[in-house]
Amino acid sequence: MSGLPPYASTGERVWYYSFRVICGLIFIFLITPILVVLPLSFNAQPYFSFTNEMLTFQEGAFSTRWYWDILENGMANPSATEGWWADVWQNAQWVRAVKNSFFIGIFATLIATALGTLAAIGLSRSEMPFSKVIMSILISPMIIPLVITGASMFSFFSLDFNPANWVVEGDQPPEDRWQLAFTYGGLILAHAALGTPFVIITVTATLASFDQSLVRAAQSMGADPVRTFFKVQMPLILPGVISGALFAFITSFDEVVVVLQMATAEQRTIPRQMFSGIREQISPTILAVATILVIISIALLATVEMLRRRSEKLRGMSPQ
């Protein structure tokens, strides 16, 4: 199909071009909704659609008011000139959502990447027992519907984990409840569990082409396992680990169903804030946030692609 031979018949020519047109339409279907968000977020009017003024590029049809609204929404005193930034930092809803998203996302990513990388190394050893069963358990957070995950974690994390309250004797007043629901800790643990499958999949894929004889070579030269891991194996699989970490981060960054069940209003993340924004008051502020998120995902995509190429290069260097 690549390139049309000079002897192609008319039918083949028609098919060749119509196939390309069909594919072009599907690409438009894939990309248009994402691109449409960008101009709409600069709408001066509070609508989700293009106004006539926008289509004719009239002055005043575009504005950045919704981007300012991201900062101002929820502020105690938007018109104050003193202490403006402190007000935004403490009260603005979207700013709080950004803080929550990064806080939860970063810690969940750290846990998921550390545990996931170790497990992937173990799973790719040929002598690993029950590797298939264990693999299917470890991948399951990606497969099981998020509603089930969220509901299960919420009902389990609502339990009181304080051992002092397990056995109640007489009229002794109950100790403090130790529960994970409605805490940052619970959200971090939940998101870490959801992120691990992605780390395992990417790191295992990188390890598949990792030359195990390098480990033996290092050990034969007297390096202990820890040193071998950090000096030989880790640098070579690092691109895979980083892209796994990015996958884990974006999973947490994008996750809303578990947050919906387990978070208080104070702990709302960006997608949770968007969710209620879409449900309750549709305002183009959401489009402005969406535009920023699209830019973030372009940056993440570029990073992952760069890492993939680098990893391919590294693999090319290792002897086959």
């Binding site: 659609s49 545990l115 264990i134 509901a151 169903v257 995902s297």
Partner: protein, 504 residues
């Protein structure tokens, strides 16, 4: 290394330096390395078990075990469990009930008990709370006193419903999730026809997932093929168009589809501008009655309302919540604020005239907040999950096979259908199963753009978790969904293999 040792141990047992047989030494070494591998996996396995698997098991058990009543009503529970459900209600039962009512009213637990019984018999909530208020002053005979407080206490089916609530371990919820009813005397009957909603919901969920899977296949196959055939450089460039949606937040994409598909959205504007809406309307009018069409002439309604009575129309527009106002309505409202009644009228007339001058009606299609919107948005969101596995399989099919088939006289179609297509089936299986598994548990998109008929089972589970607070029913519905998903997960493992899962 292992092979050489087993070959040599056939004859005399070889001994290691310390005198133990080599075979045992090898076994020991293998055992140690196995344990080492297991040790690497153990932390994550323990973590996943603790925060993921055990919570799910605990949740599923809640679908069978609801001790709300038994924990709080210690006197009546054993008596009710011993009761056969057929013989008349005894004074002993009534006395235990009154004692429990006093107890739960004192420790303020009556609300939860009432809610629990209400799940079995609607109307029980008020019956319990009002009787509990009067329970302190009740005198024997207690059965009559209870009936005096609320005449429902005299009915045997009410006591049977309480018996069901008093049974902690019960199949009632799982049966309810499959539209069966579990009565106090242990009989299982089908739910009344108008209350059979869960099975229909599961069927609808499967139907939407299937349509989404098929749409993803139809759209994904040509794209994956093109990407696999193009030179790497071009393919990588086009791959960005697939991967960018993959990396973009689901919320962003759902928002984008709202902007695209809503009544005043990009698609409708485009169709009105090109007149395509009229073409579609004419075609669909050949098959349907005009009234049945899912067409809302939003702008038309606004303009007509305004032309009828400006003050009434303005009042209507002004009362509509922010963000839901249609653009015509907003323009008329703005014109009213500037130029009063006459200004609004002239603006409405101008709007009506412009619609007529263009020769287009303003029929707009409702493509969102219904099943159609859910399917379109979900197809878009899940399409990369179809394209990526298809692409990675198609990359491995040598292009020379197609050329060989053609050189031996196969037509293009035969070469594709008999040679190329069969080799891509593993990719189709992987993509289709992945899309189906992800679609069947989808929550966000149906919740935001599903409207009434686009709701799926996940939305129902969430409803029972957070709104009706019937966690046991949520757990039972979740259990059924989990079994379906696990079946397809098992199928995926059989056909594709979990270790072949790839991302990006």
């Amino acid at each position: 290394m292992a092979e050489t040792t087993t070959e040599t141990t056939k004859n005399a047992p070889l001994l290691a330096a310390d005198g133990t047989p080599l075979r045992r030494k090898l076994e020991q070494a293998l055992f140690v390395s196995r344990m080492r591998a297991l040790g690497l996996v153990a932390p994550l396995l323990a973590f996943i078990l603790a925060v993921f698997i055990i919570p799910i098991v605990y949740f599923m058990i809640q679908g069978m075990h609801n001790p709300v009543y038994a924990d709080r009503m210690p006197n009546s529970t054993p008596i009710l469990q011993a009761w056969d459900g057929q013989s008349p209600v005894t004074e002993e039962m009534a006395e235990a009930m009154v004692k429990d009512l006093i107890l739960t009213r004192d420790n303020r637990e009556i609300g939860r008990v009432a809610t629990r019984v209400n799940q079995e018999f609607s109307g029980a909530r008020s019956m319990f709370t009002s009787s509990a208020r009067k329970a302190e002053r009740m005198e024997p005979p207690f059965l009559e006193a209870l009936v005096d407080a609320d005449k429902d206490w005299g009915k045997q089916e009410v006591w049977r419903a309480i018996k069901v609530a008093a049974t902690s371990w019960t199949p009632a919820y799982y049966l309810a999730a499959l539209d069966f009813q579990y009565a106090g005397d242990g009989s299982i009957t089908r739910q009344d026809a108008e209350r059979r909603i869960h099975v229909a919901l599961f069927v609808r969920t499967m139907e939407i997932s299937l349509i989404v899977t098929i749409s993803c296949f139809v759209l994904g196959y040509p794209v994956a093929w093109l990407l696999a055939e193009l030179p790497v450089r071009k393919a990588n460039l086009l791959m960005i168009l697939v991967l960018l949606p993959f990396w973009t937040s689901i919320l962003v994409r759902t928002t984008a589809w709202i902007a695209m598909l809503q009544g005043q959205g990009v698609m409708n504007d485009l169709m009105v501008f090109t007149g395509l809406n009229q073409v579609i309307l004419q075609i669909s009018m050949l098959f349907n009655d005009y009234k049945d069409l899912t067409v809302s002439s939003l702008c038309g309604i606004d303009v007509n309302a305004a032309l009828g009575s400006i003050p009434a129309a303005v009042e209507k527009f002004g009362a509509s919540p922010p963000g839901t106002l249609t653009r015509c309505g907003a323009e008329i409202l703005a014109a009213f604020e500037q130029g009063g009644e006459s200004g609004a009228r002239s603006h409405a007339e101008a709007l009506a005239a412009s619609a007529q001058r263009w020769g287009y009606g303003d029929e707009r299609f409702s493509m969102i907040y219904n099943k159609l919107g859910t399917i379109i948005a979900m197809t878009h969101i899940l399409l990369p999950f179809m394209i990526l596995p298809l692409y990675s399989v198609m990359k491995t099919v040598p292009p020379s096979y197609l050329r060989a088939a053609k050189s031996m006289g196969a037509t293009n179609w035969t070469a594709f259908w008999r040679v190329y297509f069969p080799q891509t089936i593993p990719g189709i299986g992987a993509g289709a199963l992945l899309v189906f598994i992800l679609a069947i548990g989808y929550y966000i998109t149906p919740a935001l753009v599903g409207g009434q008929d686009g709701q799926m089972i996940s939305n129902f589970i969430d409803f029972h978790m957070r709104r009706s607070l019937n966690w046991s029913l949520a757990a039972a519905l979740g259990g059924v969904l989990l079994i379906i998903v696990l079946f397809f997960y098992w199928l995926y493992d059989r056909i594709v293999g979990i270790d072949n899962m790839k991302l990006g």
